[in-house]
């Protein structure tokens, strides 16, 4: 067995386990910790590690989704954080929690990490909640919701001749069809495109709103090989952000994704799989271009965010799904992408590789 082929970092770090909840429209009968805990148990069980044996724990979530202040301290109850553990939290998608954990392992301060994230959007109206992340002077007072902003980007793509409504519908249909094989997905099979939500985006071009959880375990070096038959080595990872002013950006392109991919070594060798965090069908068009993905690459075999989009977890799930394909031998080199902010403002790209078979 050989090690990772293109590692450029001090330590070889791999995703050794991934677990996720079923993603559901509502989970009224569960508090956030009740929703998170089974997934934590599942991901730890996959490695045989106990919570106390994990070197670093990092989570991602947003209190605004469910309207509960400091909800992440409540969900930490599900980890078993006593005696006090080394722990951190980001008010972001869990992909960025994974990045922090990966850095922690690179520094040598930990050999393993538990990363989890969750979103419980059902108590509120996520379209309105997300307006509160916008510039408070020029944008937030207008309450432009997440679908409206994505629709502006979609129209810019249509105007530029990069896509059209039938092409967007095909992305939506392919995603939900592929999700037929994903028992955790919220939308599976044939889903009608429906009416315009905000034109040119129809219901089918938009992600489902729902509640869900994801968790991964990272491990370094030989420990990763002990914990997992075929670790998914993170041979590159980087994230970049663009200006917050929408009018300052070319919405038909994603230079931040492209630079992150370059720095993660994506273009050094072909990939067979891409898990892209494209909540809207039109955003897949932008990401395919930025990442230079050809027709031979399996894009979002899990169904992607169009099939399940738990806020703050859908990006981490992309990394988890790509890693799981490597674990089970369905992929040798995969790219995973996560996004944050309106119209793909911030983007994280990770390249994952399995040992040569």
């Amino acid at each position: 067995m050989t090690g990772p082929r293109t590692s450029r970092y001090a330590r070889d770090v791999a995703v050794v386990a991934f677990a996720q909840s079923d993603h559901l429209r509502r989970t009224d009968e569960l508090s956030e910790v009740e929703m998170v805990m089974p997934v934590l148990h599942q991901v730890l069980a996959a490695t045989g590690l106990k919570a106390g044996e994990i070197g670093f724990t990092c989570s991602g979530s947003s209190d605004y989704l469910a309207g509960r202040a400091f909800s992440f301290t409540m969900t930490l109850d599900g980890v078993g954080a006593w005696p006090p553990i080394s722990e951190s939290h980001v008010e972001m998608d869990g992909a960025w929690a994974l990045y922090e954990a990966w850095v922690k392992i690179q520094t040598g301060e930990a050999d393993t990490a538990l990363v989890y994230s969750y979103g419980k959007s059902s108590p509120g109206s996520v379209r309105d909640v997300l307006t509160r992340q916008l510039d408070p002077y020029y944008l937030a007072p207008l309450w432009p919701d997440s679908v409206a902003l994505a629709a502006l980007q979609a129209q810019a793509l249509v105007d530029a001749g990069e896509t059209d409504e039938p092409a967007l519908a095909a992305i939506a249909a392919r995603s939900r069809a592929d999700a037929g094989a994903n028992p955790h997905a919220q939308l599976r099979g044939a889903v009608p495109q429906g009416d315009y939500q905000v034109r040119p985006l129809r219901t089918g071009d938009c992600p489902p709103v729902g509640d869900g959880v994801a968790a991964v375990v990272l491990a370094a070096g030989d420990l990763a090989r002990q914990l997992c038959d075929r670790p998914a080595w993170i041979t590159g990872i980087d994230h970049r952000i663009e200006a917050h002013g929408l009018g300052l950006r070319d919405l038909t392109d994603s230079p931040s994704t492209r630079i992150a991919a370059q720095r993660a070594g994506l273009f050094d060798a072909p990939v067979d799989t891409a898990e892209l965090h494209a909540p809207f069908s039109s955003q897949e068009v932008v990401l395919r271009k930025a990442l230079g993905l050809g027709d031979t690459v399996a894009v979002n075999p899990s169904g992607g965010a169009l099939a399940a989009n738990p806020m703050m977890a859908a990006g981490l799930i992309r990394i988890g799904e790509a890693a799981a394909r490597i674990h089970r031998g369905a992929s040798d080199r995969a790219v995973a992408h996560a996004t944050s902010g309106p119209c793909l403002q911030q983007n994280l790209v990770a390249v994952l590789e399995g040992d040569t078979r």
Binding site: L40, Y137, A148
Partner: protein, 320 residues
């Protein structure tokens, strides 16, 4: 005994309001004051472009930028999206187009609403002009929206502007309200349902056997679900306390009064409550107390002495 049906999920409205008062930098202040006075300002970026809306720092170099110019109140749509069902608080109550508009003289686009009869009347490249709000205060909403305009762009380019106005706007109040429907989850639902029968029900950790009151569904020490329900109390022991001398807003309780940590009998940790029925300066650690319910109360109004001898320190020292 019949098998209990799962308790009905509890739901209650939850409103979160956060009106932030935000100060403005010099460029934002000039821009928003200008809108109040019917003038649209941009700022020159270090690569010579005119940014509207203007920013305090260069988007490429991050240098402070301060060179203001006046641009026209007319412009061109760079992209749009038709919004058939306006949401509360959006700029127009009737169907409208979201637009990014490059004002004449600007090199970047501004997000706003366009009042148009329907999607067929909107296209990228169409000419629009600002419709000013009737009452203006120095906010982005001083632009009520854009409206179609068939005139050409002015011949003159952006003119330098000193950004000086009478009574400049130096801050905004960013109102925000989000509405939720809160559900407490399995463990807290059981706790709340028991309280409605004036009982206090905790949950025991299957691993370390600690009884949590109120239960949150997980043992934070062991990281496992707490599933065994345990009725605790009704009496308990004051483990520690403080004397409150500041009258709380909207609270009809005379000061000074005592607020205490109370370990209910059988509970593995203390909850807190007010102590009544005893002069404030006679409350002590170890005092035995019981809950006092008021008519229709959803939780004990306060706790009063039971009259039992004080508890031994050893009996509650682990619960402080």
């Amino acid at each position: 005994m019949t098998a209990a049906s799962p308790p009905e999920v509890l739901r209650a409205p939850l409103v979160v309001e956060f009106p932030f008062t935000r100060s403005l930098g010099p460029v934002q202040s000039a821009f928003l004051t200008g809108l109040r006075d019917g003038v649209v300002l941009g700022v020159k970026t270090s690569d010579g472009r005119v940014a509207v809306p203007p920013v305090e720092y260069d988007p490429v170099t991050s240098e402070e930028i301060r060179e203001l110019v006046e641009v026209a109140a007319t412009g061109t749509v760079t992209t749009w999206a038709w919004n058939d069902r306006p949401r509360p608080q959006q700029p127009l109550g009737t169907p409208f187009a979201w637009v990014l508009v490059k004002l004449d003289g600007a090199d970047t686009a501004l997000l706003h609403a366009l009042d148009a009869p329907g999607p067929d009347a909107v296209r990228t490249g169409m000419r629009v002009r600002v419709r000013w709000a009737a009452e203006r205060t120095g906010a982005i909403t001083d632009i009520a929206c854009f409206e179609p305009y068939d005139g050409p762009a002015p011949k003159a380019g952006p003119a330098p502007h000193d950004g000086v106005f009478q009574d400049p706007v130096t801050g905004i109040v960013a109102e925000a309200r989000l509405d939720y429907v809160y559900s407490p989850g399995r463990a807290q639902t059981a706790y709340i349902n028991a309280l409605s029968e004036q009982r206090t029900v905790g949950e025991r950790c299957p691993s370390c056997h600690k009884v949590y009151v109120p239960p949150r569904g997980a043992c934070p020490t062991c990281g496992v679900a707490t599933t065994d329900q345990v009725e605790v109390g009704p009496a308990g022991t004051v483990t520690t306390f403080c004397i409150v001398n500041i009258k709380a807003k909207n609270l009809d309780i005379e000061v000074p009064y005592v607020y205490a940590h109370i370990a209910l009998d059988g509970a593995g940790l203390a909850l807190h409550g007010r102590i009544g029925g005893i002069p404030y300066d006679q409350v002590r650690m170890g005092l035995r107390v019981e809950p006092v319910w008021t008519e229709g109360g959803r939780y004990p109004d306060h706790y009063r002495p039971t009259g039992e001898p004080d508890a031994d320190y050893d009996a509650y020292k682990e619960l402080i």
